[in-house]
Symmetry: C3
Subunit: 342 residues, 3 copies
C-alpha cells in the first residue's frame, strides 16, 4: 500500500473573539468578551489515508473552545464538535463512526446566514421558557438538536450529479437521559447545484425521558443565488409528546469583493402542552444584520446586531445578557470581533 | 549542538471505533458504539533531541480518548496514557520522569493477544465482586495495575544482546488513597530474541489503604513463534493483606498476509479474605477469538467474540453490558470495528 | 493576499519534571515528583498570517500541564496559560483579545530569576495565612495576580527605540466572584536596552468581593547587566480595602557558557486589616539559589534550594510540603530536574 507516504496529520482551526453588548428589557445590560461569533473557535486534527482501489480511511477530531477564557466548549467532551473514524469509497460513499452532527442540524444550519453562532444565531430561538418539546424530551441534559454520540453514519458519495444523502443510527446504549445517551435514527437528502440547493431531513430520538413517545426533528430548506446575493429559507419542527415548536428562517448574504452583508429573520412558535402546562402563545421573532470585512481568505473583522421580540409568555434572549427578563420583553445585542482561520 | 535542526514535533495517534453487543445472563443485552477495541484511541505528541555524544533528550505526551463520545478517557488526567520527559544514553539507558506504565503491566500486556482492550481483553478478569486484593488496596480510586503517576524510571539501553530491564520508583507524596497517590517500587527483566521472549516483573505499592501491608503485583510471561503463529502465556498475581488473585493467560496470534487470527484463554482465581469476607470460589474463565483484516499498515477492520463463565460467587462481565447480572452467570460479547493509525 | 502560502501551525512546548523535597518546621517532610520547576510544562499551538501592508493576524493557544501526573494545570481552563487572537500592525501595535497575563505580572515576573516557578519562586510569598488583600478580594477563586479572562489588550509596536507599553481592559461580564469573573483595567510601560531595562505597571480589578473598593496591584522593577551577571530588582504592592501586601525582590543570574547560577531574595510584608483581623506582622523572607546546566539550547538539567523564614504570625511555605506548619516556622526545599523544550 501507499500508506507509508501519507502519515501527515493536518492541524487546523479557528480562533474568533468579539466584544458583545446585550440588553434585556427591564434588567439592564452586560458587556462581555465572547468566543466564536462569526465561526466557532476550534482546534482540529484530521487526516486521510488512500488505501488504493478508490478506498480511503480517515479521522477527524475537533475540539471546540472559548477563546475568551481558555475553556473547552464542553466541560466533559473535549472533542465535542466531532470525533470520528471513517472508511470511504468513491462508489459506495462513507461509513463514519463516532460523534457528529445529526442530519437535521446539517440541513438547517447551512441556510442560517449566521451559521448558528453569534448574537443573530437562529439557535437563540431553539429553547425557551416555559419548556417546549426539547426540554420536555431532554430536560437540562445534552439534546440531539445539533450532535449525537455513538453514531454510525452512511454518507452518499460525492459526484452523484448534485445528489446528497446521509443516514445516521446512534446507539442508546441502555443509558438514561441523565447519562446523555440517546438513540437517534435520522436521514437527510438534498440536491445542490452551482446556484441553488434544497435539503430535507428528519431525526427521531429516544431516551428515558422520551419513553412515552419520541423526540422528532424535521427540516426542509433551500437557497438560490441571485447575482451576488444568496437567498435562503428553512423550516424546522421539533415535536415531543403533546408539545410542538416550529421555526421559520429567511436569510440573505450579499458578497462584494472583500465585503459581506448578511441578514436573517427567524420566527419561532410553540403549541400544545409540556406536561400539563400549555405552551401556546410562547413565540418570538428575531432579526439580525451583519457585516464582514475579509482581510484575507483566513482572517476577517465583523460586526452584527440582533433583536428578539417575544410574545406575551415567551422569554427568548440573546446569550450573555442579564438574567431575569420578564415574559414578553425584548432582547437586543450587538458585537464586533475578529475571526482567524489557521 | 545540533539542537536547532531538530525542533520537529511528531503528532500521531490512533482512532478506533466498534459496534458492540454484550449480553449478560438474566439481565438482557446492550448494543453500543465503543472506542479502542483493537487499539486504544489516542493522540500523541512526542519528540527527541540528539544532544551529541550518544546522549538524547525526549518527551512523550499521550492523550487517550473515547471516539464514540468525544470524551477524554480520564476525566481528570488529559495525558492519562503517558506524560514523560527523558534523558537517554546509548550506553547507560534512559532516565524517564512522569506518568507511565508500571513494569508489571508491561510484562503482562505484551502477551495478551488482544492488548488488554476490547471484548476479549484480559482486563475483564482483573476486578470483580466481591472485592479482591485490588479493590481492598485502592477501593474505587485509580489503582496501579496499569500506570503510576510521579514515577522516576530507569530503562536499560537497547542492544544488550536481547536483555531488557526497567526500574520504577514513584513518590507517594504524602498523599492518601483518595487523592490517587500511591508509592510504587517495581522492576522488570526480560530477554527478547527474534522468535521468542521471556519477561518477569514485580511491583509493590503503598498508599493509605494499604498501610496494613502493601499491594503486590507479580508477573511472569513469555512467547514463542512457531511458523506464522505467535504463542504466548503469562501468569500474574495480585496480593493485598489476606487477599490473593491469580490470572493465567494463554494466547495465539496467526498472521497470513493481511489476515490475522487471534485467540486467548484467561483464567482468574481468588483466595483468602477481603476484610472478613471470604473470596474463595470467585474465579472465572474467559475465551476470546478475533479476526483482523489489515487494509494497510495503518488501517484495519476487525471482529471479536468473547465469553466469560463465572464460578458460583463471581460476577466478572464484559464491559458495556447491562448491570445486575447474578453471581455465577455468563457474559457474552461480540464487536466489529475499524482501527486507523495516523 | 498571500494567505494561502502561510497556513502552517506551530506546535511547540516545554516538558519539565523534577524530584522535590520540602520540609516544614514541626510537621516533617514530603518527597514528590513535580512539574515545571525551571519552566512551566506546556503545549502551544500558534500561528501568524501576513495580511500585507505591514498588517498581520495571529493566534496563540497555550495549555499548561503537570507532567508528573498527566493532568491539566487548570481543571476547567484547558488553555489556561494563554488563549488569544490578534491583529497587529508594524506602526500601530497589536490588538489582542482573550485570556492572557495581566500587565503587572509581566512587569514583575521578568525580574524573578526563577521565573515565578520552582521551590524558589517569588510566588511562594504572594498568598498567606491569615488572609491578606488577595484572599480578601478573591477568596479561594482565581485571582488576577497572573492572568485575566475576557481581556482586550493593546501592545505597543516593537522598535520604538526600546519603549514598551501595554493596556488591558477585561470585562467583568456581570459575573460574581464565584464565577471567577473580574473586571480588570491595567497598564504597563517600560524601557529596554541591550544591558538594562525598567518597567512599571498597575492593574485594578473589580468583582463582587471587591465591591467595597477594588483590588490594586502595582509593580516597579528593573535590571542591569554587569559583565556576565544580570542583576534585577522589583517591588510590588497588592491592596484591597484596609489590607496591603508589599513584596521586594532582588535577583542575580550569572551565565558562563553552558552554566547558569541564579540567586534571589524576596521579602513580603503585610499591613492593615483583612475584615476586622489585623494582618500586621505577617511577613516573611525567602532565599533561593539555583544552578542550571544547559545540555543544549533546548534541554537543561537544574537544581535549586530555597528557604522561607516567617515572622511570628506568618505561615508562608514552599509548595508540596506537609500541611499544618505552625505560624513563624521555617520551610525548606530543594529539587533537581530536567527541562526540555520542543
Amino acid at each position: 500500500t501507499s500508506a507509508g507516504a501519507q502519515s501527515a496529520v493536518s492541524v487546523s482551526g479557528i480562533v474568533d473573539a468579539a466584544a458583545r453588548h446585550v440588553s434585556n428589557d427591564g434588567v439592564g445590560s452586560i458587556r462581555s468578551l465572547v468566543s466564536g461569533s462569526n465561526s466557532t473557535s476550534r482546534l482540529v486534527f484530521s487526516g486521510r489515508e488512500d488505501l488504493g482501489g478508490a478506498l480511503a480511511a480517515g479521522f477527524h477530531l475537533e475540539h471546540g473552545f472559548l477563546v475568551d477564557a481558555g475553556t473547552p466548549a464542553s466541560a466533559d467532551k473535549f472533542w465535542d464538535r466531532r470525533s470520528t473514524v471513517s472508511l470511504s469509497s468513491a462508489a459506495m460513499g462513507e461509513l463514519r463512526l463516532g460523534r457528529d452532527f445529526v442530519p437535521s442540524y446539517v440541513a438547517w444550519s447551512r441556510y442560517d446566514p449566521f451559521s448558528y453562532v453569534g448574537v443573530a444565531r437562529s439557535a437563540n430561538l431553539v429553547s425557551a421558557t416555559p419548556a417546549g418539546p426539547i426540554r420536555s424530551a431532554f430536560s437540562t441534559n445534552a439534546n440531539t438538536t445539533v450532535r449525537s454520540d455513538n453514531a454510525a453514519q452512511w454518507l452518499a458519495p460525492a459526484g452523484l450529479a448534485g445528489f446528497e444523502a446521509g443516514l445516521m443510527i446512534a446507539a442508546r446504549e441502555g443509558g438514561d437521559a441523565a447519562s446523555g445517551r440517546a438513540g437517534v435514527r435520522g436521514a437527510r437528502v438534498g440536491y445542490a447545484a452551482k446556484s441553488f440547493s434544497v435539503s430535507a431531513a428528519a431525526a427521531r430520538t429516544e431516551n428515558s425521558l422520551t419513553s412515552a413517545g419520541s423526540f422528532q426533528d424535521k427540516v426542509v430548506g433551500g437557497h438560490v443565488d441571485v447575482a451576488d446575493v444568496r437567498l435562503s429559507g428553512a423550516w424546522r419542527e421539533f415535536r415531543q409528546s403533546q408539545a410542538t415548536q416550529r421555526l421559520l428562517m429567511l436569510g440573505a448574504v450579499a458578497t462584494f469583493g472583500q465585503h459581506e452583508v448578511k441578514a436573517s429573520w427567524v420566527k419561532a412558535d410553540m403549541s400544545g402542552r409540556a406536561g400539563t402546562v400549555s405552551i401556546d402563545g410562547t413565540g418570538a421573532d428575531q432579526c439580525g444584520l451583519g457585516y464582514v470585512y475579509n482581510l484575507s481568505k483566513r482572517t476577517a473583522m465583523y460586526a452584527t446586531v440582533a433583536r428578539i421580540g417575544n410574545d406575551g409568555l415567551a422569554r427568548y434572549v440573546i446569550s450573555d445578557g442579564p438574567a431575569g427578563m420578564a415574559a414578553g420583553g425584548t432582547s437586543r445585542g450587538y458585537e464586533a470581533g475578529i475571526r482567524h482561520r489557521f
